[in-house]
């Protein structure tokens, strides 16, 4: 009953939850104001964006898991596949959103939370319409979003690997992983409290609180999952 593999799986689930939570802070979420192009980021809520990216990552990881075994190389490939799937999903979302913002709405992508873009060194402040908090998805937010998607995919993939190695069938593992993903993504979004632009946003400093909360929540979920698999 007291097996080292169970402890490893419990650790994997806990770490996966913490990674999923951390990933949400990188994703540029604009919420309702961004849907009207009056705020930086993609125009939807944290939960929806993180979940969209996470599920794609989960599916990509699951497909890879059905091709390779659970050897160390196999696990690395599964995590990588999850990360790539998630990155493609969020990258496409941000790119198409950007096309609509620029050519449809007619705004200049500009970040509100920094004077100059830390990556391209372009000035941002002059391009922000007075009364708004930035527009579109500037380079720094795009890069930040891709980093977030990578982490989300790795987290989702790790949770899936842990569940598969506990002996669940892919369908059961996938369903549990979806629920698990939502708990951690929503905990992060409550900590952010609405909108975030990426790693240059002052709200990014709130991350430790969210990660602690997620670690505890994932540990509790992990114990319940282990009890199911005994």
């Amino acid at each position: 009953m007291f097996d080292i593999n169970l402890i490893i799986s419990l650790l994997e689930i806990t770490i996966a939850g913490a990674i999923i939570n951390a990933s949400v802070y990188f994703i540029p979420v604009g919420g309702a104001p961004a849907a009207m192009a009056t705020s930086t980021g993609v125009g939807t809520g944290t939960t929806q964006l993180a979940a969209g990216a996470g599920f794609t990552g989960l599916l990509a990881a699951a497909i890879m898991a059905s091709k390779v075994g659970l050897t160390p190389e196999g696990i690395a490939l599964i995590l990588l596949s999850g990360a790539i799937g998630s990155m493609i999903m969020l990258g496409v979302t941000m790119l198409i959103g950007q096309l609509i913002y620029v050519f449809g709405v007619g705004v200049v992508p500009a970040a509100d939370k920094c004077e100059i873009d830390p990556i391209t060194k372009d000035p941002q402040k002059p391009y922000i319409t007075p009364g708004t908090t930035g527009h579109g998805i500037p380079t720094v937010c795009f890069i930040s979003g891709l980093i977030g998607a990578t982490l989300g995919g790795i987290g989702g993939g790790l949770a899936y690997v842990a569940l598969i190695s506990l002996g669940f069938s892919p369908a059961v593992a996938g369903t549990i992983a979806i629920g698990f993903f939502f708990i951690n993504a929503v905990l992060a979004s409550y900590n952010i409290g609405g909108t975030i632009e990426g790693f240059h946003d002052p709200k990014f400093k709130k991350m430790p609180n969210g990660v602690i909360a997620s670690t505890i929540a994932s540990f509790v979920c992990g114990i319940i999952i282990i009890l199911m698999a005994l």
């Binding site: 919420g31 309702a32 809520g45 944290t46 939960t47 929806q48 979940a51 069938s169 369908a171 059961v172 996938g174 369903t175 549990i176 979806i178 629920g179 698990f180 993903f181 939502f182 708990i183 929503v186 905990l187 979004s189 409550y190 900590n191 952010i192 409290g193 609405g194 609180n209 969210g210 602690i212 909360a213 505890i216 929540a217 509790v220 979920c221 319940i224 999952i225 009890l227 199911m228 698999a229 005994l230």
Partner: protein, 268 residues
């Protein structure tokens, strides 16, 4: 947030009353969906009773979201079903781990209730302490919505699978992907009523009516998936009655109702 703000939403019935009745009915529904399957009534009676859990969840979402969550109402509905998924699967699979497989139908609904309450309470505490939500009823509401989500998910899956025995439940409800449908259907039934009705003129009666309509619509979706003809007819008729009532209520509460052709023409 513009809606509610203070959380002093006027109530037609106390929240505990609706929650107690809803979860009680859903719990009975879970048992009946297992024990009435030989008579072919599992979706008809089980599904109807389980849709009460959606109403209970939607009512709690109304109460907690009127304080203003800061992330939109859908987040709490998704969180509810996230906690519910783990609890519902755990309720069915944990008895098997302890060698109580043959007693699972008796244990599973109660165990799901207990596990979801524990998970909801812990996640609720976490949203208050390290995360820093400023809503006073957060812990209680999280516990409630976690229970509502778990009961809705377990109930609809059991009504479809027709059994709470682990091997049949996993085969019929999980491996076929029905639980993923239950996840999003029950989630929307829980989050949508308040999300649609919120605003300064929100009334409890209207939100509750929509919640009942959403619960019945979820039952209809599962009846269609199971191809249970009697349930399909009864659920769609009941849904149409409640939904028409809701539309009439919205028209009555509105300042004025202008259909598209009646928009005044611009003066030349």
């Amino acid at each position: 947030m513009s809606h509610g703000g203070g959380g002093h939403a006027a109530e037609l019935f106390p929240e505990e009353q609706i929650f107690g009745v809803g979860i009680g009915l859903a719990l009975i529904g879970c048992y009946l969906s297992h024990f009435l399957e030989p008579y072919g009534l599992s979706m008809l009676i089980g599904g109807l009773l389980v849709s009460a859990a959606c109403v209970a969840g939607a009512n709690t979402v109304r109460k907690v979201a009127s304080y203003g969550l800061g992330t939109g109402v859908p987040s709490i509905g998704m969180l509810s079903l996230g906690m519910g998924t783990i609890s519902a699967i755990a309720g069915v699979l944990i008895p098997k781990s302890f060698g109580l497989t043959s007693y699972t139908p008796y244990i599973a609904p109660i165990l799901t209730l207990i596990i979801s309450a524990i998970v909801g309470f812990i996640v609720g505490r976490l949203t208050v302490n390290p995360v820093g939500m400023k809503i006073p009823i957060m812990v209680r509401s999280m516990t409630f919505i976690s229970i509502a989500g778990a009961m809705a998910l377990l109930g609809f899956s059991a009504a479809y699978a027709g059994s709470l025995m682990p091997n049949i439940f996993v085969n019929n409800a999980l491996n076929s992907g029905i639980m993923a449908v239950a996840f999003i259907v029950a989630g929307i039934a829980i989050l949508h009523p308040f999300n649609a009705c919120l605003g300064p003129d929100e009334s409890h009666k209207r939100t509750l009516t929509l919640a009942v309509a959403c619960g019945l619509l979820s039952w209809f979706i599962f009846s269609v998936i199971k191809l249970d003809l009697i349930s399909i007819v009864i659920s769609i008729v009941l849904w149409a009655i409640v939904y028409l009532k809701y539309v009439k209520m919205s028209f009555k509460d509105a300042c004025c109702v202008l259909h598209t052709p009646e928009i005044p023409k611009k003066e030349e």
